[in-house]
Structures are given as structure tokens and as C-alpha cells.
Symmetry: C2
Amino acid sequence: MTEAVQTEAVHTERVDFRVRPDRYKHWRLSTDGPVATLTMDVDEQGGLVPGYELKLNSYDLGVDIELYDAVQRLRFEHPEVRTVVITSGKPKIFSAGANIRMLAASPHGWKVNFCKFTNETRNGIEDATAHSGQTYLAAVNGTASGGGYELALACEHIMLVDDRSSAVSLPELPLLGVLPGTGGLTRVSDKRHVRRDLADYFSTKSEGVGGKKAVQWRLVDEAVPRPRWDETVAERAAELAGRSSRPENATGVELTPLTKTADDDAIRYDHVEARLDRDAGRVDISVKGPHNDPPADIAGATAQGAAFWPLAVTRELDDLILDLRTNETELGTWVFRTEGDPALVLAHDELLLGGKDDWFANEVLQYLKRTLRRLDVTSRSLIAAIEPGSCFAGSLLELALAADRSFQLAGVFEDKNPDAEPATITLGEMNLGPLTMSNGLTRLQTRFWGDEAGYEAAAKRKGEALEAEDAAELGLVTFAPDDIDWDEEIRIATEERSSFSPDALTGLEANYRFAGPETMETKIFGRLTAWQNWIFNRPNASGPDGALRRFGTGQRAVFDRKRV
Amino acid sequence: MTEAVQTEAVHTERVDFRVRPDRYKHWRLSTDGPVATLTMDVDEQGGLVPGYELKLNSYDLGVDIELYDAVQRLRFEHPEVRTVVITSGKPKIFSAGANIRMLAASPHGWKVNFCKFTNETRNGIEDATAHSGQTYLAAVNGTASGGGYELALACEHIMLVDDRSSAVSLPELPLLGVLPGTGGLTRVSDKRHVRRDLADYFSTKSEGVGGKKAVQWRLVDEAVPRPRWDETVAERAAELAGRSSRPENATGVELTPLTKTADDDAIRYDHVEARLDRDAGRVDISVKGPHNDPPADIAGATAQGAAFWPLAVTRELDDLILDLRTNETELGTWVFRTEGDPALVLAHDELLLGGKDDWFANEVLQYLKRTLRRLDVTSRSLIAAIEPGSCFAGSLLELALAADRSFQLAGVFEDKNPDAEPATITLGEMNLGPLTMSNGLTRLQTRFWGDEAGYEAAAKRKGEALEAEDAAELGLVTFAPDDIDWDEEIRIATEERSSFSPDALTGLEANYRFAGPETMETKIFGRLTAWQNWIFNRPNASGPDGALRRFGTGQRAVFDRKRV
């Protein structure tokens, strides 16, 4: 155990997910009309924490934070960009994947959280390709190993330089005793449709596969000799750009810096506030609805830019989720409240949905969808507390639908404000289609999976402000206590939660949140991630003699050979 | 660590999966015309290994082995049975689920393997309901907790006695810090369609839910007062029997004792032989095809009974898989060979498929399907070696299609037998439909998932004996070495396999074997099981202060509160 402690990377500083291109250490973002190029050129000495060098374009969370920022900015700030080329700034190497020393030295929870964020960004790359007309092209101009190849797998089209030495590979299993766990196995089989026996062989062959064989096996789409490389990449980028639905002559919306203040007890943004109760292991998150009517049309919304309420609140929620997930791992329960006028939320929703053929409205909508998906895969218990003065309507009602349990006050708080209007929730069009979960269904469909009648009964109340009894009867909230029981019920629910095994809660939630069908995305977060987490936690990988810890030491790993 | 070792249940004796009703310690099987009753009445002192008492109808692997035997015999020996009532022989308690002391004291691998077998039997119960016209009815005549309720969940219809004390519950999370991992979470959400927030609440409430609320929440189908219990169970059993397609007046086929001999180096049956190479960590499994033509018709096959080759070979394979999985955990690679005349295999297949409206032919087919599914979820690397004299055709070709890799000899062994016919494989009707994997696709469809053209090209060669080059070209085998390379290639593949992390291989195989769609069954073996394995391996459950180890000691578990 001593050795384990000694070699652990110490994450003492709070990780900040806010970054901007002029501060990137590891990526260069350039655009040339419809084609952007994201060049990975990792600063070896620029690791997020001391203790490892980011050689060979290997990455840590810091590198991934910049990639996430770039992918987001390309969507909002660059409506003209239709193809994004991801390539390497290093000679002969595309990327060596996640940094092994960083992984080996990181505690289990850090590894798992890091992989989750990496997965989310890669899903975002596929989402941009599918829903924003920004198609990602991997220009693999050198060897792509492990997470490096997994990054390429998230792109729509993979070009590999054919120079007799460059290859794509998944060496995790033979070299490190772990899986290609950030989507690798799932994308190889379910996206690239590599035959399972070839995939098996490929994933045990540490040197990988290059050239024509990589094309034959579907590992890449084309292998291009170096002399024709630049011209072929440019050609392919132009072809992909030609298929895009991105607008002509639109002006981008700048993702201006978030207003954020944080101290030990709270994190505050313009529309979102989180109060941290360390004794109770709980975060109380309050989301404010819009203060004003929405602009008259999408042009008005675009003019508001980053201040447009749906975009502003989504950015704040996104940053908060990432911050809490990474920096506040002992706060296991998040309680969501909202505050504001439901009608104004619904009016903003309506504007967005009415304009969804507009690129900006579409981007805001897709971003909200992705942020809610991030919440779905967050390993925290989620509770919604629906009180008088709240605005759980349409897009904000999704927070309650994402919660593991919801409480809606029946009546009002007689002591505090007997004249208040009772709390209501309102289903809107936003709950009936656009904001799909990663299983491809809406949260409402998932909630009523296998109960068509229950779904119909709820959906047809769209637009009605539903008080607690109605909402509970319809199955839209879990419990509807009155003000005598309210505090006690919420207290018991949160205290009980913090008395349970955090691991078992994570497993429970990861199962119950995803009833029904599975997609490549749910398979990555469910099947693949769960197996990887198990493997990460086993002595054969992470014990002092495990493969992950022994990599690079010259000593072979010692395995317990029992098959489990 | 010392404590952990001291409390481990020691599994020194080889577990034998062969049992028969007159030797059951824990179950009573009785039949009354179309209704069979399986009464669980666990012998407290009858645990498989010393160290725990099986109180309150809690179970260990020994109890489950008898249940599996009963489910199998009901299908083959009792064509007249159309409803199977599962109930308890103890007062006030249906079943308390898996025995906690057994779980707490068992090593990780034992827990995982035990849960897998339990899951397979429950899937078998659903399979009997869906495909054999034997509908399972859970007559929950007392409290059903944890695995006890999970057993009920595998039944088509759940009746709960309504007596103000009996309840169904999933107390694993609050009491033990683990999941209801033998299908519980998945069946609650995806089969019973319990709303996710109610399911969440239910799974954290250790005392469970009974009476009308259990019906309202869909946890059970009906709650019946004790005075009307017997008559209502009988009524419901008769109703379910009325829907069955089981034949009138058929005679059962007795599952006579298997001929099996075993020593340290080999396990031998009539048609299957396994040679155990402990140094190499490998098992060489040889399956013999039929020696004779099949009987003229299904009546002839039924007359052969347990000696009918497809049934005999399936029973032997089934027993071998279970034996090796449980008793030979360090033998990580299984190499399959076959021996015999492909035409005779195909002729038996044809007889079975031609008669699949016959109950017995259907049972044999379904059993073969289930046994191959057991192979798919086996955590061993599977390799097929296709040599001259083999009979990888139709049903036996499935062994090669189930393998992670297959090798087919190009040409013959010039030294050993230059005049032999080259090895061939032959696709038959059996490969194109009936033997679905748990993802709902055939192994051939899964192999060519996303490659319709590849599938069509292979499928249209049905009936042709394909030599190695053709088979490799069509993608039906992985490699086609000639006799100069053969030994070396197989040796490298198996040696390499045994040099890798056994855990990482398990994860790799569990992902690559299941491309494409997911079903409740794959969700149980993939998502749910992987999370449970992770949780089982965590100190919060299995460490000296973990919930599973502290249960019943009067001491509360101590948790690392960090959410991962």
C-alpha cells in the first residue's frame, strides 16, 4: 500500500474546465473557409499535475479540456466551418493515447472520471458530424495508438498515411492489461463493423495494423502515400464540406468567458448557483429561469449571443457538472431547484424550436441535449425539489425528469408564504422529442418505457400547469408531500442516500437511468465502461505488480491467472 | 488481508453439476397433470461448502444446481407439464435470496461465476416460458428478498400473498452495498416496466413493498389474500396451462445419467473429450460427430431418447462448460476441435429442423441454443482449430462461429496424412436462424453486423464444403495457415493468450462477442453484471469494513465516500 500511495499523482488544485484558444497549450485551431484544422501538438511539460511528461502526443485531462473547448467553439463561433480535420503536429506520430504514467499514478476515481469526460467529447465530435454539419476527418499522419486511434474512431472518415511505418493500434490489452475503454472496442465493432475475430486479433497485436490491411479490415477508410497526403486530405476535406448544411454568410456567436465565482461553500454563475454542504455530502443547485421575454426571433437571439438565456444557462450547467464531478467527489447527492416564471421558459423553448432550421437555434438545442446527457451519466444521485416559485417547465423540466427521484410540494409553504401559487410543472414540446437521451429516447419515453398508456396520458397534458397531486397521479413526479412533511421527506431522502455505498448507488443509477434500447453511446457508457472500471480496479492492472503499474519499468506484470 | 483470508470459504472439492430429483436436498418437484410445482425448501445444513447455514430459503450454488436440473427435466421428461408453479415450503418466507455469509466469504471469482450460473438458469426459465409452452408462475407465499424476488422476476406471472407482512424487496443496496445483480435491476425496469423513480425508491427500501402497492407499482401481478391463496394459485396455473402449445399424450424423454470420467488431465464423455494442459493454461476440447445416420423421423429420435446424438452431445458440452468454468479457472483458453462426418451432422440438423413443430425436436434445438449462449458468456478465450477429418458443419460450425478466433488448415498435414481430404466447413440451415445468440441475432449475423454484403456472400454458399482459402475469403474463419505454419500459429495464439491479463481478456471478449443490438439478456450479462463485478471488487463491498463483509456483525460498514 505504501508504494501505491507514493506513486499516486496528487490532484490538489481544483481543475478548471474554462479555457480559450489563445491559452491552448496542446492544440492549434486554424480555419480556412469551410475547413478547420485542429492540430494536436502536445506540450510534453504541460501536464495538468506534476509527475509525468506528455510524450508522443499522449494526453491527460488538460489536453482533453482544450479539445472539448475547441469542438464547442467550432460549433458556435464558426458557422462557416463544415469540415474539421484532426491531425498531428508531431512527426511520425499522430497520438500515443492517454498518458500511461498519468493513468498508472492516478487513483481509481480519477481514471474513471477522466475516461468519462474523454468519452463525452468524442460523442460530441460524432454529434457535431451528425447534427451540425461539421464533419470530422481524422488525418492520421503518423502512428495512432490506443486513445489516439480511439480519437480517430470518433471521426467520420479516417485517413492513414501509408508509409510502411504508420499504423493504428489498440495496445491496451497486450501492454497495459486494460481495455481500449474510451469507445475503442465499441466503435471498432459497432461503428466500423470490423469483424469480431479480426477485431480480437487487432486488439491483441500491440504494433497494430497499417497500410492496405488497415483498409481491408475497415480500421481506416483509406491509406494514402505520403507524397499525395496533403493534397488528398485537402480533397477529402472539401468533399465532406460539400455535403454540409451549414449556412452561408452567417456570423458566429462568441463563447465569452463565463461569470463564475467560487468559494468553499458555493459556486455561482449568473443563472446557476450551487451551495455545497460538505457535512451532508450534498449540493443544492438552483437554476434561474429567464427574467425577460425571449427576443422576437432567432436573429434577435443570435444578436444576444452568449447572453441568450438558453445558451447561457446551458453553459453554466455544463461547467458546473464538470466542476463538481471532478472536484467534489464526496458530494454524492445533487438536489435541483429552479426559480422563475415557467411561461418565460416555455417562450424561450418555443423560439428555439420554431427556429431549429436556423444554425444557431440548432446549436443551442444540441448543446442542451448534450449537457443533459452529461447529467444522465453523472455518478451522483439526482433529486429534484419542486417548490412554489419554481419553473420546472419544458427544457427545465428535463432536470426533474433526469432526476432519480422528484418531490413536488402539494400546496404551499403555509409558514413561509401562504399566499404563494402552488408549485407546478409543465410539459412542453421540448419534452416530447428534441432532447433525446443517449438511448435515443426522450426522458419522458424512457420514464414510461413499456407503458404506452402512461406516456399518452402524460403527453396530452402538454401546456398545462400541473399541481403536485396531478403530476404524481400522472407519474411525472415521484412524491407529492405537503408542507408538513416536506422538509422531513427531503432530509430523509438525502441523508439516506449518503448512508449508502457510493459504489452501489453508481451501479444502481447507471442501470435504472437507461431502460429500453441501447445505442453505441449507451454501450460505451454501460457495457464498455463498466468492464473497464472493473479491470481498472483489479490487481492485475492497478496492483503494485499489475500491468498498468509495471509498464515502462522493464519488469513484466505478474498476473493472477484465474479467469473470473 | 489476514482477515480476508481467514473468512474465505474454501472450495476444495470439485463441484459436480450432475444431480437428479431423488437426490435433491433443497427442492421438491411434483406434477399434477399439466401443472408442476417446484417447492423450494432449502436444507439449512446442506450448503455446498462448510461455513454457512442456508437459513430462510437462502441459496448457494448447490441449491441453484438443483433448480437448473429441475427446469431441464421439466422440459424433457414432462411434455405434459404446461405450467410450473415455483413456491416455498417454508412458512412466511418465499426466499431470502443468495446466502450472504456464503457471498461474503467467497472469493471474487466464485461470486461472479455463481451469479452467472444463476442468471443462466433464470434466463432458462424465461426461455421455457417463451419457447416450450411451460409457463412459470411465481407463487410468492411469503417474503421474497433480493435473489428470492429476482427468481420470481424470471417468472411470467408473479402472485404475492397479501397478509400485511409478506413483501417483495431488493435490499442489496441498502443492506449489503451491492446490486440486485442477477437480473433484478434489468427485469424491474425492462421487463416489469416499473417506473425508474419508483424502482429507485424500491431498491433502497430494505423492507420492500407488499400488498396493493406492489401491484400498483407493477412489482407483482396480483396480491391475493391468504384465505383465497391456494385456490387462486390453482386457478391461475390452470389458466396459464390453457395457453400452452405442449402436446397431448406425449411421452417424456428421460435425461439418463451422463457417462463421464475425469482425472487430473482429462474429462471424457461419450462424444466430448477435454484434455487439460495446466502448464499452458489450455483445454483442448474435441467433439465427435454422429457415427450413424439419423433416425428416419422424429419419432425415431424420441425413441433414441437421451442417446439421440444432438441431445447427447449438447448435454455433454453443457456439463463440460459448467465443470471447467467452475473448477478450472486457471485454464484460460479453450481450443475446440471436431471429428467426424459433416454430412451426418447436417443430416441430424435437418431432421431436427424438419421436425421443429414436434415438442422433442424443439426441446433439443432450444437446449442447443442455450448451451451455445452459455459458451458465449464464458470468460475463457475460445479458439477453433479446423483440421482434416473434422465436421464443423451446421450445428457444430457454431462452435467455430462462437470462437474468438478460428484457424482452418489450408491443405492437409503432409507428414501425418498426405492423402486426407482437406478440412472443410459447411454452413447449414442451422446457422441461418434457429440458434440465436442472446442479442437476438445468429452468430453469423453478429459476425457480419453492418456488412450485409458479406453476410449474403457467405449465406449463399450454404451446403458447400468450403476449404480454407474460400472460408477465409468469405470471412468465415480468421486464418488459413498451411501445415508448415499450423502448429506454430496455434501455439503462438494460445501462448500469447495466456501471457495477457485474464481480466482484460474477459472484458475484451465480453464486448467483441456482442456487436449490434442489445436485449434484456445481454443487458443482464453486459451492463448489469459488469457493474456488479466492479462493485463486488470494491472495498466498500468486499473490504474488511465493507457492507457485504460487515452484514450481520452488528457493525456498520465504513465507506469511502468518494463517488467514482
